[in-house]
Symmetry: C2
Subunit: 415 residues, 2 copies
């Protein structure tokens, strides 16, 4: 696709510029972009109105309309995001190790930008500014392919940022928005491995699956979280209720919310009525196994499918288990490798659960809701990786970098 | 494909066992496998004879026959490789960082095995033992899909190792060989993302390209090296001759051998006759630009294609350039991001070349031939990554691991 090849070439040039740009210059651009977004809020809001109008006319409604909507407050929050990124340390250039070899070669490993990063996303226009901030700070050029329903908003934000780039002597192609929003342009981006070093899909499970199956560019898979909490027989039950309620209800629509609760049968009769009462009070639908339904009158029977479902809603699957082994087996079968927690006062069980459960984040005695770049102290987040290659769990600035070996010699040849 | 799904399931089980196996038990298996390979050399050699006979009858010859051939010595060397891996530190379990957050959560990042690693390779049966050693040491189960010409050899080696695994109480499925060697089985392995965490192709450019384009499993791209040496105007010319000759002729068939030489025009008249003489004496064909052909009488004119070619042979493309900028531009256009060197006595040029050239390994005043896990001091190598995701440059044991976050709480919930 011609548009993408041209954008790819320009992004590669911009990436070469960015790789050499000092942190101070990158931070200046980020601060000015923040200011410019706020000053140009009128332009952005009127573009967003067009998107909203088209969406309404196209019959969209509910959560997608909320994701699409921009307000003064949301624009201020995008700007604040850019300003906060200026406060983080620039990871580029850090030398991770440097050693002298017996032959006198001094071999160092240095952190460098990835190069050109592609992002395919859906209806949230704030992603445009967020991704720009993270990529610019880490010296990467970005090619964004947003959803067609947000095109006017994305285009307005991109233009404002490109002007700031130019005014600061940066190539405007540090940030490029794909103007063709057809399905074909998304597929073409997945085949652009000559110019892209990394592709990150941000969106629902369908989008992510399509990218994983079609991309020639290395991908980081993000997002799907079928998270579990296991209440062990030694758990502090009051805490367990609070953690369960928090993990399910504090924000049910996100990937680190708990979807299944596993309860040791020795504490089920005591714990489930307490937890059930608090959950039902907050409107949570409980889908339980036989024993759970006997203990919690308001529960409905769970189906096999429920154990495998990321509800992203006020629904919780609940199962009683006879041992920690059974709980771990259940998590191995149905978990998506995102966030898993054990609630226990037993030292050996805590350690064994941490060792044996294979997930991006494994917790003892805390809510799964903490799996997040900000909560982990990274100061930023581009997504939460559920794959094992390159990055696993919340990804901050470092995860947008690669490394290269730099070797200082004085005439060495190989024998 | 049924065979692969079954092998995938068993590999996942074996990986769970391996993730918990202590280093001492893994090392014991590696030592015993080494001994068993040597003791069973007769079985391996007779299987290899069958492969060699089939290959001869199938019309194969030359380098591929040499790659396929096993001897007592080569078997001893496979065994020695396994023993050496026992001497390396087990990377699994290392805690890379652990920090207490303001809310009291203690968040650590721990090194864990990848899980199940697939390898697609061609005709070298020694890869079977090498990959087994690296994967077992790092707690990964391996599914190998070797070339059909080496099947009997691979099968014999796998059986011997599987017996050792079983005798030591390990699941034999820690190592599995795909018995279907059709093209379909390779493609099916690329789609086995439900069971595979990583797929590494080891072989020629065609194989690697097929895997990159078809895999649903995360891939590490290895190998292609169109490497350059730039002789700057301030280079020590005697050293430059020695380094150029070494990088081209010490082992021309490998990815870190130099393929193109860029010479600053201010030293061309002095350097090229010296280098040309040594190269021609060693049978190197020199394909030069106009100026090079004028200076070296034995040189032939280079075509555009030559600048982009990984010869893997005693052929060297030679171009004169008017500046370091031109040299870097040439490398940006034609390089494959593997290994690039500048030969210079100028401090600023050395630093600028290290900064600006985007490759896995960038050298000052040394031969490109050092890009290699053993030369870098890793004690082992599974390949040389030319991508930027996860691993770049020589990959040792650490590059076969992932991480997970382990979080110690005491009742934290998110506000």
């Amino acid at each position: 696709m011609k548009e993408l090849i041209e954008k790819g070439k320009k992004a590669r040039q911009a990436a070469r510029f960015l790789a050499q740009a000092p942190a101070s210059a990158k931070n200046a651009v980020l601060n000015e972009a923040a200011g410019s977004l706020v000053r140009s809020a009128g332009i952005i809001l009127s573009a967003n109105e067009k998107d909203m109008k088209n969406a309404r006319e196209g019959g969209l409604k509910g959560a997608i309309m909320d994701r699409l909507l921009l307000t003064q407050e949301r624009i201020a929050s995008m700007a604040e995001g850019l300003r906060q990124i200026t406060l983080l340390e620039d990871p580029v250039g850090e030398v991770l190790s440097m050693k002298k070899r017996p032959n006198g070669l001094v071999i160092g490993q240095k952190r460098v930008p990835m190069g050109v990063i592609g992002i395919i996303y859906e209806s949230r226009p704030n992603v445009t500014a967020d991704v720009f901030g993270l990529c610019l700070k880490t010296g990467n050029a970005a090619i964004l392919r947003g959803g067609k329903e947000a095109f006017q908003s994305n285009f307005a934000i991109t233009k404002i940022i490109q002007n700031v780039l130019e005014e600061n002597g940066f190539p405007p192609e540090c940030l490029q928005l794909v103007e063709d929003t057809s399905r074909e342009s998304a597929v073409a981006l997945m085949k652009l491995d000559e110019y892209l070093d990394l592709l990150i899909p941000r969106g629902g499970a369908g989008l992510i699956r399509t990218v994983v199956e079609n991309s020639h560019v290395p991908v980081i898979e993000t997002g799907v979280g079928n998270c579990h909490i296991f209440v062990d027989e030694s758990a502090d039950l009051d805490r367990a209720v609070a953690i369960t309620v928090n993990a399910k209800t504090q924000r049910p629509g996100v990937c680190n919310a708990v979807e299944s609760l596993l309860v040791h049968e020795r504490v089920a009769e005591k714990f489930l009525p307490l937890a059930g009462k608090e959950l039902l009070k907050r409107g949570v639908e409980i889908r339980g196994d036989k024993k759970t339904c006997e203990i919690i009158p308001g529960a409905v029977p769970a189906t096999e499918e429920d154990w495998a479902t990321e509800f992203l809603d006020l629904i919780l699957a609940v199962k009683t288990v006879s041992s920690m082994d059974e709980a771990i087996g259940h998590i191995q079968t149905y978990g998506s490798g995102h966030s898993e927690a054990i609630l226990t006062e037993n030292y050996s069980n805590a350690q064994a659960f941490l060792d044996r459960v294979d997930a991006a984040a494994v917790y003892v005695n805390a809510s799964t809701r903490f799996t997040d770049g900000f909560e982990f102290g990274f100061g930023a987040e581009i997504g939460i990786s559920t794959q094992k290659l390159h990055a696993r769990g919340p990804m901050g600035l470092k995860e947008l970098t690669s490394t290269k070996y730099i070797i200082y010699g004085n005439g060495q040849t190989r024998e």
